[in-house]
Amino acid sequence: MSATDTAVPRAALAQSNVGMASRTLAALARVWGNLRLRDAVIISFPVLIPIVYLVVASTLDYYRYRQFDDFWARPASIDHFFQARFHAAKHVFAALRTEHQLNPEAPDAGIIRLTVPAAAWDSMQVKPVESWGHWFTAVLTRENTLSKVQIRKRGDNSVHWLTPKGSFTVKTEQRDLFKGYQTFGLSAKDVLTAYVANKMARELGLLAANTEISPVYVNNRFYGLFRFNEAIDENFLRHQLRLPGNLFRGDAAERGEYFKGTERNLFENMYIWQRAAKSQRPTASATAGLEALLTGTNAQTLDEHRRLMALVDRKQSVQLLAYLLMMGDPWHMDGVHNEFFYEDPWSMVQEPLPWDTRLLDITRPPAPRRVNPFFQESLRDPFFVDEVLREERRMLDDLHGVQIGERLARTEYERYRPYFDFESDRAGIIPDLGTPEEVSTVLRKNATVLHQWISDARVAFRSTPTDGRLVLDFETRGYAGSDLRSLTINGGGGPIVLYADRNGNGVVDRDDAVIAGAWSNEAGARRFTLTNPEALYSAWNAKGPGIQPSTAAYRFLLTGSVAGITAVTPELLNRVNGQPVTTEALAPNAPVPPSYSWHSWDFPVARPVTHRFSGNVQLHETLEIPVGDTLLIAPGTTLRLDPNVSILILGHLDARGDSAHPIIFEQADSGKPWGTVALQGQGANNSIERYTRFYGGGGAVLHEVEYTGSVSLHYVDGVEYDHLEIARNVRSDDAFHAYHSSFVMRNCSFLNTNSDAIDLDYASGEISHCRFIHAGNDAFDLMTSNPRIMDNYIEGSDDKGISIGEGSNPFVFNNYITRCERGIEVKDGSEPLILNNTLVGNKVGLRERLKNVRYWHGGWGKVVNTIVSGNKTEREIDHNSRLSVWASVIGKDTFPAGQGDLIRWLYRWQGVQVDTLHAGVVHSWSPVTPRPPLVTQEFEEDLQSYADGWIAYGAATHLEKRNRNLTAVLRPWDMNSQIEFPEGVLAKQIDWDLRQAKDSSLAVFEIAGRDMHAGTVTLLSEQGRVSMPFVARGDLSSYQFVALTLPPARYVGIRISAQPNPGLSKTQASTGLIDNDVARLNLHGYRLFSSLDSLPRARSRETADASSPMTAAH
């Protein structure tokens, strides 16, 4: 078509448009002409009503904020609320669409579902300043179970309460914890950024409360995305393997408890601290540790400062500050709130805990830009500063810490993407959540700044000839310190001596130390290389604002033939990153500015001393061996200790007697006990005691630390005891007590002890070939300890032979226990392996129970090749406990052995080899290298994963981790599809490449079922499948091992099928309704053991073997 052809239609089109426009205008004119005031008002409603609504709602928002005067409420304005509501209004349709996708039934372990009575919820929600501290009853839904909980408002400032998403605290019943937590907070503030900041504390190895992100549904409707906070309390301590001790909480402002008229600074006012947990020891002091902490924090002398640094956990403090710097927020633990210190009762060391860390740009600190007084004082310590920077470097090595934070943010953001979208649609009217990009930007910027700090090792230097010597003045000026490696000296000749002028007075005197080194010639100059580089520590000024580098002056003196020296050039390396340091010039005769920091040379230098005892020694007062010193006790020495006198060893103990010349500790006054012989701290590692005897000890309290044993170990590793004998101790709880320690104890005797013979808290080691006769309480009392208890003879304990409690998993092998009140008691989440023991003639042979509800579960003994017989009561097991038995005799019940391979593997797993396989004590066995499993799967409830990758189908529904199991509900009749499934299946993908194995491997599953008659465990490989059927006994407290021998192959899947009992679903004749009952399958875990080829086999077996899988019984 030509241009002329198109011109006509275009003109026609234009004419037509003009016509249409004129018609429209005419119509509008007609409308305008007929428009009446009433019509105009109606027409304007869609515009005016939203505006009026926005203004009124914003004004009400503002009025609500006006009821508070906190940091968040003060800057509030009606205009801000107007904009926020306008933003939300714009996104209301998008939000509604997104909300549609949110499913409260979604199988996500992080979702929290609450049902709250409407009146209670309204009371919490509508009136922001009411109902404080009031607990409301609610119901927490967890799959098929409903738990009664209490909820209350949380937080004290407006950001938590004046938005449509309020923070609150949830508290469960003591016996019905939610995934191990009794109390947890749900915080609406800075959900993603605060999650990353606080989660990283744990990721970086700090003692810190757990945090997660949780979508919260209230009354089946999505309420908001929250940050889940574990409460810092006694439960937290136990989770973190800390004995309950004083947990000082300085969080008055955060809790809205503003103590009017008193000093607000927590480090100046001891009386506004609270105790979130309390030491349960009768000798514990309430606040002495806190008082010492505050006194040390306000140190005015070096001695007071050193006392503070000895009082706090240095490693945790260093890590904590390094972590806070990385988060850009050393400010929020600010001396007014967010302060937590855990006081370890067995060392009285205070551990600072992070709390409510924010993710901030470190270059833009919020007012008042000061770290708290504790960090201010800590940072006066040059060694502390040095350690902080080294820790920082470790955290930032290859941006390791940054990547952790980015991963956390990205993972959670993707996991809850629809929720984040929904929340972003109502941004402004709810607290900000943050984004992964924000997290990454801030972390990377902080990392860059901290790298600059690490590299900032500036040193100024001047050499000045004075009265026949050279004064070498150094001044560190950067964030990082330097090492003086060598001095290059031009000119001069003859011998020269280098001194460290430790008192800095410019003359050589007796305070000054000669510095060793080697001379060499280099390019016409002499070079003095220091044998040990001298550290020139940096100084920081943390008094604020911010944290700035300060100065520290160091002075060296060159004496001897210094005439003719024209130049001295120091070689310095950055102490943290090892990079060369270029010096600046110090102005001549300039005054050296006094530093706020303590000088590293003012700290006393320890010189190790060996203390020796021999012959007969009487101690009239408590002896303390400092760290670095050694106490050497000669064979045949007898130490008589006056009443209550103790020996506290922070250094090394070497007490090696022999059978003819034992070392004896005994009472000087036969009627009164001495105290304790205690090893405390890592300085006492690898101490040795052989043929030592302790008679009449009574425990002691030294430096506020209680030593409950006449022999005590606190935080010591690698101690060796051989032929130790403890007898007739009085007053003290324990004859021997170990806390967070490891040791080996062989051939020892505990005779007529006052109470427990051996008490282990968080300890490990081996106790073998020992005798325990007439313990006043337990022969062994274990709390969260995993020792190997082997070949012991226990007789006549007034309570338990072996008490295994509070999360202990010991290996109990080949012990003979008789005439005790209870032979073995397993309780509170403990899972011991009890192998080849004989429990005879006790009042109760084996007992399992839940004693301490904080541990949530009862005991779970794995009893193999053990005889429990001839006891007044053979076993007592409560409904919270479980038992797995194999090849054992318990009373009249004999349990079959199952497959021989499994038995062998159990022995090999624990590193023992027996000549004959039979129940009860074996007469001979030998140690072999333990063979740990290649793969272990256990199930712990958490908020991250619902079923750890397992899926269910067929009759199996509602798969979840619960009570240390993977629990599946088997519902044969599906109400929706009206289909009956004869079988339920649990399956998981795996990748076990066993093709290189020379022989078969073994997979062992621990399973229980109820209302199911049969099942099969199948391992699927590329070549085929290996199956093992099992028969459930119908009792969920009785577990059985199912073992599969796996030929070399690559295994890709696990499939566990179970057939529910027929007739679970039946139609009621009277009503015609279907009674849809369910079966249940619990998988406790599984282990894969490597190739069998290298295993020595048991030579024979005396008890009957069985070809069927091992069964277990309650």
């Binding site: 505006i51 203004v55 914003s58 004004t59 009386y271 005015q300 004075t466 002056a553 005054p591």
Partner: protein, 371 residues
């Protein structure tokens, strides 16, 4: 004119001017939309609205001030009625409210009115309400204790007064009013042990106070425990080389005793360092403000702005640090000490009395009578 006729007339007037009204109305709507769309204008208008909300909200303060005026004017009956009504309506029903302190003022004024009106039960109920409102405010416990003590019948020693004094001292163990009350209570109850224990608890209570040290234009600050015991202080304090004049110590209004003061000279690059200069004891040139010297180095506070000045010779060298040893005394007044002193004597605990006396600076009048 009847209303029906008026309506007709209005309608007629609207009808006659309807075109104008429509235009005006639509213009107004457009203006509203425009105002809300232009951020600075909107912010200005909403700010004005906000100001009005603030003013309206502050009506509670005006009402409280009126009630307090009634109390001040001794119109207790009117005050009680007015404040009781205000208490019911007052918005601060929780101590987290921004006007929690005002609510406490209200309750105190109301309680005072009831006391003056001899309505003892109502007065005590009001003070108990005050404690319940914010149990973390020690002053509330003290107010209740005082009310219980004041309104006690027949010289009784009501345990609630003791309990509330103790509650106040738990929150603020250095509150002298509560301590006085507890001492008096113990004394009247003949509980000598309770009295001496309360005083020892007061002396042992951890308290830090600021010590300001000033030389020339430089100053430094130390936090010193107030426990009647000597403490060493080592303060970095860079001062100008040409510095002249005294070294000044400000004592936060506390009595104190100085054992020693020394100045540590600065080091100079390449030079031999000077020696420490002792300032006290050894110099007589000193003066004090709001402090009275009771003995060499021993100063009794006369006000809240106590200062000591030690005159020094001008020095060429910088001063790097100040090292001193001093102790702060917790305040003790004559009446209180009399009760404490008699309590110790009644217990025949002379050793305890001596140990306590060593940690306090006794009021002059008492110390002169002491054996």
């Amino acid at each position: 004119m009847e209303s029906g006729e008026l309506l007709v007339e209005v309608r007629e007037a609207v009808r006659k001017r309807e075109r104008f009204l429509v235009r005006a109305y639509l213009a107004l709507v457009a203006l509203v939309v425009l105002v809300m769309a232009v951020a600075p204008v909107r912010a200005r208008i909403l700010s004005g609205l906000q100001h009005r909300v603030d003013r309206w909200d502050e009506r509670w303060l005006d009402r409280l001030a009126y009630g307090e005026r009634l109390v001040a004017d001794s119109q207790y009956t009117a005050a009680a009625a007015y404040l009781a009504r205000l208490d019911e309506e007052f918005p601060a029903q929780s101590s987290r409210h921004r006007w929690d302190k005002e609510r406490e003022r209200l309750l105190v004024a109301l309680g005072t009115s009831y006391v003056k009106l001899n309505k003892h039960k109502l007065a005590l109920a009001t003070y108990r309400k005050l404690v319940a409102f914010d149990p973390n405010n020690y002053a509330n416990h003290y107010a209740l204790a005082r009310a219980v003590w004041t309104l006690r019948p027949n010289w009784a020693t009501p345990p609630e007064a003791r309990d509330q004094y103790i509650a106040a001292l738990v929150l603020n163990p250095i509150d002298r009013l509560s301590l006085d009350g507890l001492l008096l209570y113990s004394f009247e109850k003949a509980d000598w042990k309770g009295g001496t224990a309360a005083f020892e608890h007061y002396l042992d209570a951890l308290q830090f106070e600021h010590l300001f040290v000033k030389i020339g234009s430089d100053s430094a600050l130390a936090l010193v425990p107030v426990d009647g015991r000597f403490h060493d202080i080592d303060l970095p304090l860079p001062a100008a080389a040409e510095w002249k004049g005294p070294i000044t110590f400000s004592t936060s209004g506390l009595s104190c005793e100085i054992k020693s003061i020394a100045l540590v000279p600065a080091k100079y690059v390449g030079m031999v360092s000077g020696t420490e200069q002792q300032v006290w004891p050894g110099r007589d040139a000193w003066s004090a403000d709001s402090l009275r010297a009771r003995a060499p180095g021993l100063f009794e506070a006369l006000g809240s702005a106590g200062q000591m000045h030690f005159v020094l010779e001008p020095r060429d060298a910088h001063v790097a640090r100040v090292r001193l040893t001093l102790r702060f005394f917790k305040p003790v007044n004559a009446d209180r000490w009399d009760v404490v002193d008699r309590s110790y004597r009644n217990r025949l605990d002379y050793a305890g009395l001596a140990a306590t006396k060593a940690r306090v600076l006794l009021p002059d009048v008492v110390s002169s009578q002491a054996p």
